[in-house]
């Protein structure tokens, strides 16, 4: 039982990922505003729809601003709360804006003591009738955004397009990292085979490759579901997606290569050579793909690469265990496969002795 601790750990980590990843609520956020385009010199009423917000509960402490840039903002004239999820704000948009663009986007910031501060970038587009930055400077009534509240309790960040699907970080993105680790193990076993041609290394390389393929297929499938429902298309030209697609091609070719060779020693050796070559040839793709997105696929900018700004510390607490959990489960699955291969080899060797 003692030597199986890592299997238990893998299962526990996946259970932890499922429960904690699903139970921790999202931080309150703003999902929509209407109208989203206004003209200058008007008093406008903006309906704001909140998510997970407590507008009613924190009615007296709500403050709201339309932010032009980091220094300049205008405060809401009056705020009336309908329920926890909706509030309407009245703003006086000045006759002129202190910018020399016809259309200016402004960020909506709402703050109260129950939800903390939440913001929606480019929430409102203001169209100017005539452009005069000088006049705009004079009529601008600046409001300071200060003393923002902090949301208490553990939450995941709210991102407008993602919504709850930010949790897919644990069930989809982690699969990709687990896949890469599994392919590295397969690669290492192929190297071992070339150094010391024992059949066990070949069985291991084969088993890990197959588990990696499983993770890759699942990653692509879940990625497509996620992308379809957030960005509107199944394929989003993301580095990870492309890497996975190419590695699926390569490792499927690996199995076709194996099946077209007959002699088992030759099969193992040539498969190992191909595995090493393919893995190394795949690495440059990490550098190549990001260089292409700007030039060949315009409009693919701002895709879902999870940079440091997208993973806050709470998410890390679930994300890293998720990777290790999926990885350990895959190692377990691989182990089952190569143990079968060992038994298989033993049966045939017995046959030879007869």
């Amino acid at each position: 039982m003692v030597k199986h601790w890592w299997k238990a750990l893998g299962v526990l980590l996946v259970i932890y990922t499922l429960t904690v990843g699903m139970l921790i609520p999202l931080r309150p956020g703003i999902t929509a505003v209407s109208p989203s385009s206004v003209r200058t010199g008007e008093q406008i009423t903006i309906q704001v729809a909140g998510y997970n917000s407590n507008f009613k509960k924190a009615q007296d402490s709500i403050r709201a601003w339309l932010k032009l840039d980091n220094e300049r903002a205008i405060a809401a004239q009056s705020i009336s709360v309908k329920d926890d999820q909706s509030v309407s704000l009245i703003f006086d948009i000045p006759e002129y804006l202190p910018v020399d663009q016809r259309v200016q986007d402004m960020t909506l910031v709402i703050d109260n003591d129950a939800d903390g501060a939440s913001l929606l970038p480019s929430a409102v587009f203001v169209t100017q009738d005539s452009i005069d930055p000088e006049m705009g400077q004079q009529v601008w009534k600046n409001a300071d955004i200060s003393n923002l509240n902090d949301k208490k309790g553990i939450t995941f960040p709210f991102r407008n397009i993602l919504g709850e699907t930010i949790r897919n970080t644990y069930f989809h993105v982690s699969l990709w990292l687990a896949m890469v680790s599994i392919f590295i193990i397969s690669f290492a076993n192929s190297i071992n085979y070339l150094r010391d041609p024992l059949p066990i290394y070949d069985y291991k390389a084969k088993a890990y490759t197959r588990s990696g393929l499983l993770l890759g297929i699942l990653g692509l499938l879940t990625g497509a579901i996620w992308a379809k429902n957030t960005w509107g298309q199944y394929w989003s030209w993301d580095v990870k997606q492309n890497m996975t697609a190419v590695s699926l091609l390569i490792y499927m070719a690996y199995f076709i290569l194996r099946s077209s060779l007959t002699d088992s020693e030759q099969k193992a050796r040539i498969a190992a050579v191909y595995n090493i070559f393919a893995f190394v040839a795949l690495i440059p793709l990490i550098y190549v793909i990001p260089r292409l997105t700007d030039s060949l696929h315009p409009g693919a900018g701002g895709n879902i690469t999870f940079g440091s700004q997208d993973l806050d510390n709470t998410m890390r607490m679930v994300f890293y265990p998720a990777i290790i959990g999926w990885f350990l489960i895959s190692v377990w699955i691989s182990k089952l496969q190569y143990r079968m291969d060992i038994i298989h080899a033993r049966i045939w060797n017995l046959d030879d002795e007869d």
């Binding site: 070719a253 050796r269 070559f277 393919a278």
Partner: protein
């Protein structure tokens, strides 16, 4: 140096064989002109973007066909003979150099033929020539190594395509991008892309030299 002499002799052998029979190369060139002809008839008006895609598709398939025969053409007995007198590294290097020259000729011919029959969208011939050179090197190393693998299996023509296409994707993507730059579709500094391509070529070469001795002993 002994291996340098070996490479030279093996290279000369490949060229002599080619000139004596000549049917492999003429087959490739016939394929090339046939494709270019069909493409130029099928597209009445060809846009630079489509030119870029078509050019590399033609090159990709022509190169696979051209390189596949480098190991296939030699009978097992003859291979055995070479292996007994020459060093494996010398064999693979001579094959790679031969294929680089072949693919280089192939690329420039395709460029000429496609320009002659359709349009010549290339605004920066120097960048494009460099692209073709680095592309030929990358394709040649990759396809030569894979053909050495595929020749061990029986159905090697299909296997060759299956095994090698995913592996040339990084090279191919960079080539398409560099071609787009030399057509003037995107304005960008090419230094980093060229260095990256060179890096990939060197990486593939290093892997080939390390791994080929393992393939060779049969």
């Amino acid at each position: 140096m002994k291996s340098k002499g070996e490479i030279w002799h093996l290279l000369r052998k490949d060229f002599l064989l080619e000139f004596r029979t000549g049917y492999a190369i003429s087959g490739i060139f016939l394929y090339l002109f046939g494709t270019v002809y069909i493409v130029s008839r099928a597209f009445q008006q060809i846009k630079p973007e489509s030119w870029n895609a078509l050019f590399w598709i033609i090159i990709l398939f022509a190169s696979v066909n051209a390189v596949t025969k480098s190991f296939v053409q030699e009978s097992n007995q003859r291979q055995l003979y070479f292996y007994s007198i020459a060093n494996p590294i010398a064999i693979i290097i001579s094959k790679i150099i031969y294929n680089i020259l072949l693919l280089l000729a192939l690329s420039f011919l395709t460029w000429g033929a496609l320009s002659f029959m359709t349009i010549d969208p290339i605004l920066k011939p120097d960048v494009f020539s460099l692209t073709l050179l680095l592309g030929s090197i990358g394709f040649s190393i990759n396809f030569t190594f894979i053909s050495a693998i595929a020749v061990k299996a029986n159905n090697n023509a299909t296997l060759m395509a299956i095994l090698s296409f995913p592996l040339v994707i990084p090279v191919l993507l960079l080539l398409v991008k560099l071609t787009a730059i030399s057509i003037g579709l995107v304005a960008q500094d090419i230094t980093n892309d060229i260095l990256l391509l060179l890096g990939i070529d060197l990486l593939l070469l290093a892997m080939t030299l390390i791994l080929y001795p393992f393939l060779w002993r049969d």
